[in-house]
């Protein structure tokens, strides 16, 4: 394994963390947008309560991906930024409005109309951002972002947009909404928990539909990914594991076992991100930019790996504390423990 491969693995791991944490925050925004029924206000309050203390920390995973990409793979960063200029600018607008509107809503007047206005900006941008994120990922895999040797884009600015990338955008949206609903089904109590259990089931159906559409469209629009997803033996194994996790999550929701559903959903999303990475390995931008071709100097990559290891020593205990404090009442893998169990 080369240093470039190791750094690629770090980026993928950070993307997994981003999907599991920030993805669920975006998904929470989707449920704010789709809040309905007699407990509409309670649903929104739960979302706000769930993501308030953690969304800013969760967002930093994306920054980490960006800086590792430009430090370790400068040519890939340049290629991605130029070929996907338009969707990335729109993604930024979504990220800015989401964060700003969420904070403004918390600290603005508690007047209902003002709250509703900020809520709409927050929830609409929370839906827009994952859509564009999925589109960007789909475009990177599609093979349509042709890049010249010097990093100059050969494809037009609209090359990132196609039915395939639309499908992957919707898939990301559905997946994050599904993830958020399974988390919220655990964090809520009583009838509110039932609301989110039903929402998780609906989102699960949407995940399946958009995944199927993406796969079908990838056959013609992203042939390399299709081949990667279907032809290699280990990738087939990954697909099977992902499918098993998805079925478990869905089954657990039907069986009203929210904790199992949440664990399975986490596994499912993790496997999907890893499966995407594996299917396009060793490409960063299919088919012109690879981990090796985009690599900067080895000295930097080694120093970066050391810095990442040192940073992780600080980061993980701090993250543990954060989740322990705010999600501590619910048993959720390592990040929390029932206070009762400690006593």
């Amino acid at each position: 394994m080369t240093t470039a491969d190791l750094l690629g693995a770090v980026i993928l791991a950070a993307l997994v963390a981003y999907a599991l944490l920030a993805g669920a925050d975006f998904g929470g925004g989707v449920w704010d947008l789709l809040a309905s029924g007699p407990r509409k206000a309670e649903q929104r309050r739960l979302v706000e309560h769930a993501i308030g203390p953690i969304w800013e920390a969760n967002h930093v995973w994306l920054i980490l991906v960006v800086v590792v990409l430009f430090t370790g793979f400068p040519l890939a960063f340049a290629a991605v930024s130029t070929t996907l200029f338009l969707p990335l600018v729109l993604l930024l607008v979504g990220i800015v409005l989401r964060g700003a509107a969420f904070t403004f809503r918390t600290y603005d007047d508690h007047d209902d109309r003002i709250q509703a206005r900020w809520g709409l900006v927050f929830s609409a941008s929370s839906t827009l951002a994952p859509l564009l994120l999925g589109l960007v990922v789909g475009a990177l895999a599609s093979g349509r972002l042709r890049v010249g040797a010097d990093g100059v884009p050969l494809a037009g600015q609209l090359a990132g947009f196609s039915f395939f990338t639309l499908a992957t955008g919707l898939f990301a949206c559905a997946l994050f909404a599904f993830l958020a609903a399974t988390y919220l089904a655990v964090e809520a109590e009583g009838p509110l928990a039932e609301d989110f259990r039903l929402r998780a089931l609906a989102a699960g159906v949407a995940v399946f539909t958009t995944a199927a559409a993406s796969l079908a469209l990838s056959r013609s629009e992203a042939p390399l990914v299709f081949a990667g997803l279907t032809a290699r033996r280990w990738s087939l194994l990954l697909q099977l594991a992902t499918g098993a996790a998805a079925v478990t999550a869905f089954g657990a929701l039907l069986a009203r076992r929210p904790h199992l559903a949440r664990a399975a959903a986490v596994a499912q999303v993790t496997l999907i991100v890893i499966g995407w990475g594996a299917s396009q390995y060793p490409y960063l931008v299919v088919p012109d930019v690879t981990l090796a071709s985009a690599s900067g100097p080895r000295a930097t990559q080694v120093a970066l790996l050391v810095a990442l290891a040192a940073g992780a020593v600080l980061l993980f205990p701090s993250l543990y504390l954060l989740f322990r404090v705010f999600k501590g009442e619910r048993p959720f893998s390592v990040v929390d423990r029932r206070p009762a169990r400690r006593a």
Binding site: G52, P53, I54, E56, A57, H59, V60, I63, L64, V66, V67, V68, F70, T71, G72, P74, L75, F77, A78, A79, S81, T82, F85, L88, L92, V93, I95, V96, L97, R98, G99, A100, F102, T103, F104, T106, Y107, D108, G151, V152, P153, Q157, G296, P297, A299, T300, Q301, A303, L304, A307, L308, G311, L314, L315, S318, L319, L321, L322, V325, F326
Partner: protein, 442 residues
């Protein structure tokens, strides 16, 4: 507007916007944690009330700083992909480490803001201190990257490519310590005076209000100290610039002809065509003294360098004088405040002094923006001094005026909203007894 100009405007506007929130993110957590610390020490609920109010303000400003900083990390590639393709591996280290500092800020701010009733008091205070420290560490790392653009180091240029990259040497280029010190002090001074100005205004309306007096004490104490130290740091920086970036020094002083015993030109219009600075106040030997601490030292003028490596002399000189002038005013206000505080053995609240503090409120941020323009305009036409011109760094993507216009609208909207929300928070503060305020908190 050409695409290059639109790219520069967009990036410049993004940074000018973000830098305010970044500076606040460095200083405000310190104020907030000092207030909480005083509450622990004195048990006076006014300090608790203050810590909570300031925490709310910090939350709003930090969130906007976080998202506007995200915009910049993407814009590095969106607008300057060729710069990043070249410089990414050389300056990536400080940015990566800054990522971890940012993580720490976000994590501990979350604990601080939402953890009042969930964590033990000492852990809460420690979380606040962690935010303050990691904010300063963030600024430290980001400034290292800027110092490298001013004095590139840690690589060898071969046929337009960087060879023999030494990430650690690149992380600490010549002059890094001066620039970092100057930036950190400017953050504390600018934020301190802005906050002090607001509380001084309210203290004039409600004389004797304990809440605003406590706030003024902390903000003016930290901000004033930083403002007093800043001229010393500026002197270090100027001598560093004289040594490593002589073109920039000549431009910011409006100094065209190389000479011994060079005068200092205060104000005036530096005309690059006529090669002279008109309407300036001349202080004999001033520049030689300031730049080299020797009245007869030779100071290179712009004419010693090729014309196509000059920055815009008019703007750089004006921005520099604005920064120095405003900084000097702040140092004077701080000095007077220190004398008054000494005599009164407490926070100076004389009405006329409060008026001066109100007037000085916005000056710190104006000086900070001017100083940032000095270093950025002063490096033009290069993005990496002597290595890559800004025009070579720009993206091949066209129609950049469209995203420029869009982001300008977004920044104006965010700026207005932040102003309104903060004003609402502040206007309400200081009236309700602390215990009641505490109950109202989310």
């Amino acid at each position: 507007m050409t695409d290059l100009l639109a790219a520069r405007w967009l990036f410049g506007a993004s940074l000018a916007f973000h830098i305010v929130f970044a500076a606040v993110g460095v200083a405000m957590p310190l104020f907030m944690v000092l207030a909480e610390w005083r509450w622990h020490r004195t048990g006076d609920d006014v300090h608790l009330d203050l810590a909570r109010r300031w925490a709310k303000g910090t939350a709003i400003l930090f969130a906007v700083g976080a998202v506007s900083g995200t915009v910049i990390s993407f814009e590095l590639g969106l607008l300057w992909p060729r710069f990043m393709a070249f410089a990414g591996p050389i300056i990536g280290m400080p940015f990566s480490l800054e990522g971890f500092a940012f993580f720490a800020e976000a994590i501990f701010l979350g604990i601080y803001l939402y953890g009042w009733d969930r964590v033990p008091p000492r852990l809460h205070l420690a979380a606040g201190a962690a935010v303050a420290v990691s904010g300063a560490v963030s600024a430290f790392f980001v400034t290292l990257a800027n110092a490298w653009m001013n004095s590139p180091a840690g690589f060898r240029l071969a046929a337009g490519r960087a060879e023999d990259v030494a990430p650690l040497a690149a992380m600490f280029p010549p002059g890094w310590s001066h620039e970092v010190l100057h930036v950190l002090l400017s953050s504390y001074a600018a934020t301190g005076f802005a906050v002090a100005g607001i509380h001084a205004l309210l203290l004039r309306r409600k004389p004797g209000n304990a809440f605003h007096r406590a706030a003024l004490g902390i903000a003016l104490g930290v901000g004033g100290l930083a403002a007093l130290l800043q001229p010393l740091s500026g002197d270090l920086s100027a001598r560093q610039v004289a040594e490593t970036q002589p073109v920039k020094l000549a431009a910011l002083e409006g100094h065209f002809r190389t000479q011994r015993g060079a005068p200092l030109l205060v104000g005036g219009l530096a005309d690059a065509e006529a090669r002279e600075t008109r309407f300036a106040l001349e202080i004999p030997y001033g520049l030689s003294l300031l730049a080299f601490h020797d009245p007869h030292a030779e100071v290179k003028g712009l004419e010693a360098f090729p014309r196509d490596t000059w920055p815009n002399t008019l703007l750089v000189h004006l921005a520099f004088d604005a920064m120095v002038g405003l900084g000097t005013l702040l140092a004077l206000v701080a000095l007077v405040g220190a004398a008054l505080a000494w005599r009164a053995r407490g926070v100076p609240t004389a009405r006329r002094y409060l008026t001066a503090v109100v007037a000085a409120g916005p000056l710190g941020f104006l000086a900070l923006e001017a100083g940032w323009l000095v270093t950025e305009w002063g490096r033009q036409p290069f993005t990496i001094r002597g290595v890559m011109r800004t025009a070579q760094a720009v993206t091949p993507v066209s129609n950049l005026t469209v995203p420029f216009a869009g982001f300008m609208l977004l920044y104006v909207f965010l700026g207005v909203m932040v102003g309104l929300l903060l004003w609402r928070q502040i206007a309400r503060a200081g009236d309700a007894p602390a215990a009641q305020v505490v109950r109202e908190m989310p």
